[in-house]
Amino acid sequence: MRWLDLFRARKPAQASAASAKERLQIVLAHERIGRTREDFLPKLQQELVAVVARYVAIDPNKVAVNLERGGDMSTLEIEIELPGPQAQRLEAAASR
C-alpha cells in the first residue's frame, strides 16, 4: 500500500555502500598480491604471442587480452586473430 510509505523515513536503503565494499575487497585482494610479485601479464602475453608466431604469421595488433577479476575466480581471455589461408598465401608471395 502506497500510504504506508509515509511511515517510512526513507526509501529502503539502496545498499550502494555494500557494493562499494565488495568491489574494494576484490580489487584490493588482487592489488596486494601484485605488490609482492611482478605483474606477469605483459610477459605472459609476449611469450604466448611469440609461441604462436612461430607457427603462424600474426599481427601483434590483433591480439586482444581481456581480464575479468572476480572474488573466487578470474578469467583471462586471450584472443589471437590468425590470418586466413588467403592472407598467408599473399604474404608468402610477397616475401618471395
Binding site: Q14, R23, V27, L41, P42, Q45
Partner: protein, 272 residues
C-alpha cells in the same frame, strides 16, 4: 583530429575524476567517440569510478614502454559503446610517463576518437603537467572554497604558459569553468562563496555548476558515472554541461536552494 580536453584543478578532492567520468560518458552518450585517460600514475582511480577496475590488464605505462599495444590497453565501456578508458599504472615510477610517450598515445588515439579526456592528478607535478600539455581545451574544476579557487588560478597560469599551445604559439587553450559541490542553501546563508564571486575572480567562461549531491557518493560506490543516474541532480547538471559544451543553449539549473515543504523539513530527505 580529436579535441584534447584536460580536466584539472590544482587542488585534490574537488571532483576531477568524477567530472572526467561523467563528462566523458556524457560525450559518448551523444555519439562522440570518447576516450578518458587517467594520468594519475601511482594512484589509479578512474577505473574504480567508472566501474572497470576488474578488467584492467595493461595501462598507459605498458603502452609507453612497448609492452602492450594501445588498443590492448584500452578498456571499452560495456554501457556506452563509444566510450573507452586508458588506465593509469599503479606500481611503476612516475618517470616512466614521458612527454614523447604521451604525444604518441594522443596522436594514435586522435585517429579513432573525437574527444580525448585527460584526467589530471592533483598538484602541479609531472603527471599534472603532462595531462594538460597537449590540451586544446580545459575544464577547470573548482569548489566554491578559497584554496580551490586559488589553485585553479594557479593552474590557469600554467595552462597559459606551459602547455603545448602556449609553447608553440598555437593560440590559447580554451578554458571552461566547472563549479562543483555547489550548495545553494549555504550560499544563501552566506557560508559559501557565491557563483558570481568565483566567476569574477577566475574570469573564465562558465560551463556548468554541479550541485552538492548525495548521488555522487552512491555513483562512486557502484562504479557508475553519475551522469548515468537520471534522477541525480548532479547527473542532470553534468548532462547540461555536456550539452553546452557541444554548443547548445541550456539555462543553468540548481542555483537556488530547494524549497522544502513542511513534511520534508520534518522527515528529512536531501537532494538526490
Amino acid at each position: 583530429m580529436a579535441e584534447v580536453i584536460v580536466v584539472t584543478s590544482g587542488k585534490g578532492g574537488v571532483g576531477k575524476t568524477t567530472t572526467s567520468a561523467a563528462f566523458g560518458t556524457g560525450l559518448a552518450q551523444r555519439g562522440k567517440r570518447t576516450v578518458v585517460i587517467d594520468f594519475d600514475v601511482g594512484l589509479r582511480n578512474l577505473d574504480l569510478i567508472m566501474g572497470v577496475e576488474r578488467r584492467v590488464v595493461f595501462d598507459i605505462i605498458n603502452v609507453i614502454q612497448g609492452e602492450a599495444k594501445l588498443n590492448q590497453a584500452l578498456i571499452r565501456d560495456k554501457r556506452v559503446d563509444t566510450l573507452a578508458i586508458l588506465p593509469a599504472s599503479q606500481t611503476r615510477d612516475k618517470d616512466a610517463l614521458t612527454k614523447e610517450g604521451v604525444r604518441q598515445i594522443i596522436e594514435e588515439l586522435s585517429r579513432d576518437f573525437d574527444y580525448i579526456i585527460c584526467d589530471s592528478p592533483a598538484g602541479i607535478e609531472k603527471g599534472a603537467m603532462l595531462a594538460l600539455y597537449f590540451a586544446d581545451q580545459a575544464l577547470i574544476v573548482t569548489n566554491p572554497e578559497v584554496s580551490s579557487v586559488r589553485d585553479s588560478d594557479r593552474i590557469l597560469g600554467v595552462l597559459q604558459s606551459r602547455s603545448r599551445r602556449a609553447e608553440e604559439k598555437l593560440g590559447r587553450v580554451k578554458e571552461h569553468l566547472l563549479v562543483t559541490r555547489y550548495d545553494p542553501a549555504r550560499v544563501e546563508r552566506g557560508e559559501m562563496l557565491k557563483l558570481e564571486d568565483v566567476q569574477e575572480i577566475l574570469a573564465i567562461p562558465l560551463l556548468g555548476v554541479i550541485p552538492e549531491s548525495e548521488s555522487v557518493l552512491r555513483a562512486s560506490n557502484t562504479g557508475t558515472p553519475v551522469i548515468l543516474d537520471p534522477e541525480s541532480v548532479a547527473g542532470q547538471a553534468y548532462k547540461d554541461a555536456v550539452d553546452r559544451f557541444l554548443g547548445e543553449k541550456v539555462p543553468h539549473r540548481f542555483l537556488e536552494p530547494e524549497r522544502k515543504g513542511l513534511f520534508r523539513r520534518l522527515f528529512g530527505g536531501r537532494a538526490a
